[in-house]
Point group: C2
Chain length 280, copies 2
């Protein structure tokens, strides 16, 4: 299979590594905005060749768009225009409703398969690409009824071979739930990091007091602003709903602490403990 990866950062670069490692791709063409990213991708064997977008998407079996959602919005219809009839197009974006709507009436809609692999780290860029990022992870496919069944089958096969399990979902449903189980966690981490940074200015000593619990809850605050600003804005309505619900929960918890309502507090924490059941 010949593959074109547009954006060889954490997600696209890692996918390229896996496709090469599993011998699923015989040739990978990379496209990046910056010279540095292209050079890195070539030097580190993420891709075999760098070409301008218009040339890169021709003569390949699969085009992967792995770019921030705001750029993806501009690029998806254009790339769909460009690709040849037999080429499959996927994106790895974190929101799906807007992007699916954008191309719903495109004459080549059936060549496109909307995917969202639930993996990643707080790092970004080509140097963040790692082998096996997709292993033992979930990949969500949206609106597959609008894609060519053969294209869906090939995409499913590829993700399975690099170790992912598949879930199917409507794009609207996807965006609502992902707001709660992913985007809200990022908002919470960014806000927590800001609150603590603001309080504890220039005091490395204080951060020495922080244990693994703090590190765990603020880890996502290290994530790329360039990537997350567009995601937040793209999933605005669902995200605002989830932030409001979270703020309400915080305020319930705050009130129990303020009123020293031990029984209520204990019950609250016990209920929250049920998250154990749902986490691996």
């Amino acid at each position: 299979m010949k593959v074109c990866v547009v954006g060889t950062g954490l997600m696209g670069g890692s996918l390229a590594l896996d496709l090469k490692n599993k011998k699923l791709a015989s040739h990978i063409v990379g496209v990046n905005r910056s010279f540095e990213s292209n050079q890195w991708a070539l030097d580190h064997g993420l891709v075999d060749q760098i070409l301008p977008l218009e040339e890169a998407v021709l003569g390949v079996d699969l085009v992967v768009l792995s770019i921030p959602i705001d750029i993806l919005n501009q690029m998806l219809p254009r790339v769909l225009d460009l690709i040849e009839p037999q080429t499959i197009l996927i994106d790895l974006g974190s929101t799906k409703e807007g992007i699916c709507k954008l191309v719903e009436n495109h004459p080549k809609r059936s060549s496109y398969v909307a995917t969202h692999p639930i993996c990643g780290t707080e790092n970004s860029g080509p140097s963040a690409a790692i082998l096996d990022l997709y292993k033992d992870k979930i990949c969500i496919l949206c609106e597959t009824s609008k894609s060519n069944p053969k294209a869906v089958e090939k995409v499913e096969k590829m993700f399975k071979e690099i170790g992912s399990s598949l879930i199917y979902m409507g794009a609207k449903e996807h965006d609502l739930h992902i707001a709660y189980v992913s985007h809200l966690s990022h908002v919470s981490s960014f806000a927590l990091a800001s609150a603590v940074l603001d309080k504890e200015k220039d005091t490395q000593n204080i951060f020495n007091m922080a244990g693994s619990g703090f590190a765990s809850t603020v880890r996502l605050a290290k994530s790329s602003p360039q990537m997350w600003v567009p995601i937040f804005l793209n999933n605005k309505e669902n995200l605002l709903e989830s932030i409001d619900r979270f703020t309400q929960e915080l305020s319930i918890l705050r009130e129990s602490i303020e009123k020293e309502n031990q029984e209520k507090l204990l019950q609250y924490l016990k209920n929250a403990n049920q998250i154990r059941k749902f986490l691996k």
Copy 2:
């Protein structure tokens, strides 16, 4: 050294394991409220002997109180009454101001060294005890000027030998900062877990969508309610301040998303990114 550990759960049990492993303790006496915990601690070699509190604290070089802060409040003055002049008493509690005030005028105050090892996991009870929990961790000593220098020296030596680094701090200062870098993270996790559980009732499928980011931010919501309710109440004023600051940050972030203020949002996330500098 002969040691008595009151509460052989995660923290006390792990300390017992380390003291045995490093051959720092020749004999460890355990005290627990429940028969099951005592039996587990004996069966799994955490302790050599189980005795009632009044007998257990006699004839030992060190007594370690590793119990929830509400019970610690009741027990610390009583154990200080009971111990022999040469015995050192430490606690491993997560708040220090109240407890230090409680015994400030106790005739045996100098036998007591207030310590807070910054380690732990989201698990609890004797079965959660693990070897090397204290390795490469920070241990905070508070108000050491009120303790016998020889007692402080012995406690320092013990924590260093099990791999901890020491930080010194006033009790009031400790409680304020620990609210921000530990207790607030727990509040945030409990509230986040509750918000998501409330929205996503009985839908394992939705949690399958959750990636490692979500798991990381809600991990602390698995923590023991029996341990955390007393901590929250014990550090109430500092914790409320930190929750208010966090809520304010959330609301700033929410407003930028609602108004789609891209510039402000980008700047906010970039500032939050600075947390990288402070985390290992």
